[in-house]
Subunit: 398 residues, 2 copies
């Protein structure tokens, strides 16, 4: 019943051989390789003494048969297309190793965190926030195929969907690759996640007048692209005043119409988003954005309309779990860890609606993720496993 | 042998019935409707007593059989796709009417000003600046079809290409729609073109680092889109200091990669162009652009590389022709005309390399061109014809 990082690494290697793509893997949710990996996981859970099943939405759940207090641990097992071998899998196999090491841990691979079919359908189903209508409406983002017949085709139709019993758990843990370069750049080996940032995403549509560049004087023009540049320049100057130290904000998309060299743009569409751990900071950032759009409309000939695309709330880690991770990290790699927010989204932010949660990051080489070249050094993987195990022990004992 | 604006308008109407598209026409160069209009024009030239032919590049040329000094007059007869009934045709039919009114005018419809197959292939051929290799290399910009076999298919293979004899002409005249709103906005009926602007077009490529928006701190980012916004903001602030009163400058194209809402742009491509009648002003504007790119490279993490795409020289109108147009305009519509540059390109700028040139604009309703809704009031068309005729008489007599 001792922890074995060798066994943990061997299981990661075993899953790397299902749906191998170059040095990564290709296991989109409910494809044949993905289903093979889910059945592999059921067998591994059973071998570890867990009561294992795949539920009606594809969650692979291994229930610990012994007495509590229990922990829930896991992540996801499917991958982005032609992606890395560790993204998600690391947290599932790490959770499995906790159970094998004798801890009272239920293990779960939450279905489709990678959003081939929707938005956290596995973890939302588990906490009771995915309706049958949601399933009827879900389509594959790449192929447009419907989810409902796909669940039937892979043998999951008619199975019950598991529902989380929050009273059973002291908390939920997730180990994951960082998907960034903060640890690598700081030469650190462990990140203790203080929370998962909230995201607010907005569209700004600017309407001008499409015209020939030759025949239209500067005074006559209503150049939607120029208004976009001025608005974004103002946002670039103002946002640092509203943001906090770890806030990020991004203009990912600028689309001019017709975007032709010799035509004055008649329309510009901007997608702007920002992230922070604090709702109060995000409120300040949103107020800044709204003020910038208002100022643009006061100064410019081309009106700008702001609309919200989406918003998600930040999910703070449980202080006791953070303390357990910090204690274990300092014991196992003193000085080589840091507390940090997760800028990326994870199932833990869904689980946080029902349970205390906490996450652990290991470094990503070059920060690469969602690509088959994603990788992490084996000694960092093993250290991550040890810290996860130490933290689980500390938290259970607290 | 008197001028007849009714006959002139009737011929415009006749050509509108060849390749009709809604209230406009669709006659792309060397398509069946275009060839029908060229043969129509040959017949009309012959009826006017001109020696008419279509040459090996598609120029329709009507040579006046009488003694000189001669004028050359014309424009183009093909259209943009699904475009207007007057763009080009106005100047060809106007030139034909000059000949019918008894003036010593050679009439030419220069082939493919609308650039379906290249860059002024008709007028360049006429002045001896289009090689056989140019023809071999020319492809249709929409279909990719080769020009050489197309010339054969429409019956032009093997025909000689006409070569301009500059000594034959006192100058060249072109009447055209404005393709802008300057006349309309000023409630004027005639524009006397002082010259055709030069154009310089540049590409700016900015290289950053594509990253996830969540995992990359603001300090770590190399956001090519943000550098583009800052560079264009600086250009927006600096260019008015370099430009002259009638200069125009335009960012028509901004292309981010991958242009996805949640990914930091790794690359940005900008196409920037400017126009002016003065080479000295354009030199100042180019120096401003180069200084802005240099300053961006001094301030920003993402390098910007500037490259020239194309440049064309301005073509100034001949002062004696401008004087003739001004005199005729003031006589026929006192106070209702202005001198103005042409921001759009025309065959006259090619002819200007060999001959004194001058152009006349009539208003475009709403400034619309290259669209089937393009139109001009019939009284403005008739007035344009009268001013063209009056100016041709004055210039010949000068």
């Amino acid at each position: 019943m001792a922890l074995s990082t060798d066994r943990f690494l061997a299981d990661l290697d075993a899953l790397r051989r299902i749906g191998t793509y170059k040095s990564g893997v290709h296991r989109p949710t409910f494809g044949p390789e993905d289903m093979e990996s889910r059945h592999w996981l059921v067998a591994a859970m059973q071998a570890a003494g867990l009561e294992a099943s795949i539920d009606g939405i594809g969650n692979v759940f291994g229930r610990h048969p012994g007495p509590g207090p229990h922990l829930l641990a896991g992540s996801h097992i499917e991958t982005q297309n032609q992606a890395g071998w560790l993204d998600g899998v690391l947290g599932v196999v790490g959770a499995l190793e906790l159970a094998r090491a004798g801890l009272p841990v239920d293990v779960c691979a939450y279905a489709d965190e990678e959003a081939h079919w929707g938005d956290f359908i596995g973890s939302r189903s588990l906490i009771g926030e995915l309706s049958e209508e949601d399933i009827d409406a879900a389509r594959n983002r790449y192929t447009g195929a419907a989810l409902r017949p796909t669940l039937e085709a892979v043998g999951l139709a008619g199975r019950p969907r598991l529902l989380l019993d929050p009273a059973r758990y002291k908390g939920a843990l997730e180990m994951h690759i960082e998907q960034g370069t903060q640890l690598e750049n700081a030469a650190l080996r462990i990140g203790v996640v203080t929370g998962i940032v909230g995201i607010r995403q907005f569209r700004i549509v600017i309407t001008g007048q499409q015209d020939h560049t030759g025949g239209t004087t500067m005074r006559e023009r209503r150049d939607a692209g120029l208004t976009a540049v001025r608005l974004l320049g103002l946002l670039d100057r103002e946002m640092p005043r509203a943001a906090a130290e770890r806030s990020v904000w991004t203009t990912g998309r600028i689309a001019l119409e017709p975007n032709a060299p010799m035509i004055i743009p008649g329309r510009a569409e901007i997608v702007f988003s920002f992230r922070d751990l604090s709702e109060a900071v995000m409120d300040r950032m949103e107020a800044c954005l709204r003020a910038v759009v208002q100022e643009s409309n006061r100064q410019e000939r081309c009106p700008a309309v702001l609309e919200e695309i989406s918003r998600s709330a930040p999910a703070l880690s449980d202080p006791a779990i953070v303390g357990a991770f910090q204690g274990a990290a300092e014991a196992l790699c003193p000085g080589a860890w840091q507390a940090m927010p997760s800028g990326a989204i994870h199932d833990s932010q869904i689980l946080a609606r029902k349970l205390p949660v906490g996450m652990l990051f290991v470094p990503s080489i070059g920060g690469i993720s969602h690509h088959w070249t994603e990788d992490t050094r084996r000694e960092d993987l093993a250290l991550g496993m040890e810290v996860l195990h130490g933290a689980a022990q500390r938290f259970l004992a607290a």
